[in-house]
């Protein structure tokens, strides 16, 4: 289904797809078994991505990158979504938020990140601050012209490979009629900074090898030059740049669902029971029909949301709908695919149990389904004064 795409966009999608099939799939079983990406495999994926000009292709031509628009980048990530997140992390796509770098931050962080010389990670979540970001307790206090940071972040994906982390930290509190409200600032924190530690997080059922890390700040001293954007301007940089991570979840869910669907379709067309292919049973065939209908719907919803961004239209609600629907669709599709395979679907001889486990996190990270529903309904109701 390539509705409305031009030849160039289709070629971008098919190139990334064959890259994932040839360069990512063969290593997946190893990563799943060991929970690690061997350094030489990571380096090879990165080198090939750089050679092909796909590294940091979400960044503009002004910083020497391909400058794909949102729709094109969604296609890239959709096809990447077919493969292991642990491995395709090295098909580098640094955080857009680095475009907020100013002055010498450009040469210290932005340029090395888009060239693949330094890798980044993004840290917001804390044990006590999930959906409620503003309730974070990781805080920085002024000491002379520096900031002194104390606190903990967790669930920090990619921090194991990061050379620096973009960290959101509370830098004060305003008293408002609704009660105290924290002021947030984004900081660039280098690995190895005194008082800053990156350590292993929890063992997750989803995306083995794509580790969630814990960051610890213990009287970590940061000068003003490490502030990304303005002091107390954390929510501004967040709102300007971080909308895109939800499209990533949506479009990757679509890509993975298509891969899962191919297994289901093939099985329905070849497995025989009661003297016929199981796909001949209406109970199975209707499930196949429902799966592909939902996948196509999620695909269109996601590409349409990305296209709205390219056209400069408001897209907050549409992105939330895409993230909500695509992640929930993936849960249903992976579950049904296992049901069609029967007992074998649960065995790790097939990758289906992995896709099923991996699917679980998509409804949680980058804004839970409940938060997305909140965003969607608020967008509609607030306009009517409710």
């Amino acid at each position: 289904m390539q509705y409305g795409l031009n030849e160039e966009q289709e070629m971008i999608a098919s190139t990334v797809r064959s890259f994932v099939e040839k360069e990512i799939y063969p290593h997946e079983a190893l990563v799943e078994r060991t929970g690690e990406v061997p350094a030489e495999i990571a380096a090879e994926i990165k080198r090939k991505t750089i050679d092909l000009g796909f590294y940091a292709c979400n960044f503009p031509q002004t910083v020497g990158c391909a400058g794909l628009n949102h729709l094109e980048f969604a296609l890239v990530e959709r096809e990447l979504g077919r493969g292991s997140m642990a491995l395709n992390h090295f098909f580098g796509r640094p955080q857009n938020i680095l475009m907020a770098c100013e002055g010498d931050q450009v040469d210290r962080y932005l340029m090395p990140a888009v060239r693949g010389e330094r890798m980044d990670a993004l840290a917001m979540t804390e044990p006590g601050a999930g959906s409620d970001v503003r309730s974070m307790s990781c805080a920085a206090r002024r000491d002379g012209s520096d900031w002194v940071v104390n606190g903990t972040k967790h669930f920090i994906s990619g921090a194991d490979h990061a050379d620096f982390v973009i960290v959101f930290i509370a830098t004060g509190e305003d008293i408002t009629p609704k009660g105290p409200k924290k002021r947030i600032t984004a900081f660039l924190v280098d690995r190895g900074t005194k008082g800053f530690q990156i350590r292993d997080g929890y063992r997750s059922v989803s995306h083995r090898g794509y580790k969630n890390m814990i960051l610890e700040f213990d009287d970590c001293r940061l000068p003003d030059s490490q502030v990304l954007g303005a002091v107390d301007g954390g929510f501004e940089v967040m709102n300007t740049w971080l909308y895109a991570t939800r499209i990533t979840v949506a479009t990757m869910s679509v890509g993975r669902a298509r891969r899962v669907f191919d297994y289901a379709l093939d099985y329905a067309a070849t497995r025989e029971q009661f003297g016929q292919k199981i796909g001949k049973f209406q109970g199975v065939s209707f499930q196949i029909a429902d799966m592909i209908t939902e996948i196509d719907a999620a695909d269109l919803l996601t590409l349409a949301a990305a296209d709205r961004l390219d056209k400069g239209l408001s897209a907050n609600r549409e992105i939330a709908s895409a993230k909500l629907y695509a992640s929930e669709m993936l849960a249903r599709v992976t579950d049904t695919a296992i049901q069609l395979h029967g007992g074998m679907g649960l065995m790790d001889d097939y990758p289906l149990e992995r896709f099923w486990r991996d699917a679980r996190v998509e409804r949680i990270w980058d804004g839970t389904s409940e938060i997305q529903r909140h965003i969607i309904s608020r967008d509609l109701l607030r306009a009517l004064g409710a």
């Binding site: 030849e7 160039e8 289709e10 070629m11 190139t15 064959s18 890259f19 092909l52 000009g53 796909f54």
Partner: protein
């Protein structure tokens, strides 16, 4: 030196082929199509010749339906300089026979004057393995088929051919028709900058009539059938058991 690379749009090698209900051929409606994998190897080799400074220009040519334009764009995204599309059919199920393709290619060669024609040894759809040889005969050029290695020195090319039972190395005089086999190289992915550039590269559109070639089929397809299903195998526990089973079956 110009290198001409004929490329064919064929059913993708990952697609499970289905015979049409009336047995007139393979169903190609709504099926994923790609560049013939052997032709991809030929494009790759032509680009490598250019990168090595042995070729000045790589021209991809495709003969078939209008949608073969996508196949040519792929060749351009890999690194070919320009493309020629010869529209010779308007139905995806109409396959142009090797002799007609060779006649059109002969006319293209006469117009473009390449020093080398690099083609796939055969297309994976009907496995004819004839176009390159026919083109060589029509032009009176030397030919080397099924090659796994190629080096060009001046007016001569040294090629290694994959023949039954081994490898054969021969020299051919240029200009030549060289058909490539699987092990010659591993084709590259199109790079993102090249994908972006492909749209701006020239793609000239012609028809079979422009070259005065009659593409009416000379062959009649009597029937197309699925290959017979293979009987299930058995597992044997030892070499002795294998030998005795083979003896029982009268195979040894």
């Amino acid at each position: 030196m110009k290198v001409l690379v004929p490329v064919k749009r064929v059913i993708d090698y990952n697609v499970k082929v289905r015979v049409k209900a009336d047995g007139s051929g393979v169903d190609l409606a709504n099926v994923k199509m790609s560049m013939n994998p052997f032709d991809e190897i030929a494009v790759e080799q032509a680009i490598r010749l250019k990168e090595a400074g042995q070729a000045d220009e790589v021209i991809a040519v495709s003969i078939g339906v209008k949608q073969a334009q996508e196949t040519l764009r792929t060749a351009l995204a890999m690194g070919a300089d320009r493309a020629i599309l010869v529209v010779a059919a308007d139905d995806v199920h109409q396959d142009i026979e090797p002799l007609a393709v060779a006649k059109i290619l002969k006319a293209v060669v006469e117009a473009e004057q390449p020093g080398l024609v690099l083609c796939g040894k055969q297309a994976i759809d009907n496995d004819m393995n004839a176009t390159g040889q026919m083109l060589s005969a029509l032009l009176g050029w030397s030919q080397a088929t099924f090659i796994s290695d190629l080096s060009v020195e001046g007016e001569e090319a040294t090629v290694t051919r994959e023949v039954d039972g081994g490898l054969q190395t021969i020299k051919v005089k240029m200009p030549a028709i060289v058909s490539v086999d699987l092990r010659l190289n591993e084709p590259r992915y199109a790079s993102l900058p090249n994908i972006m550039k492909a749209k701006k590269k020239p793609l000239e559109e012609k028809t079979a009539a422009d070259y005065g070639v009659d593409v009416t089929p000379r062959l009649e397809i009597v029937k197309t059938v699925e290959p017979a299903a293979r009987a299930a195998g058995i597992k044997v526990g030892s070499v002795d058991e294998l030998v005795s089973k083979l003896k029982d079956a009268g195979a040894v």
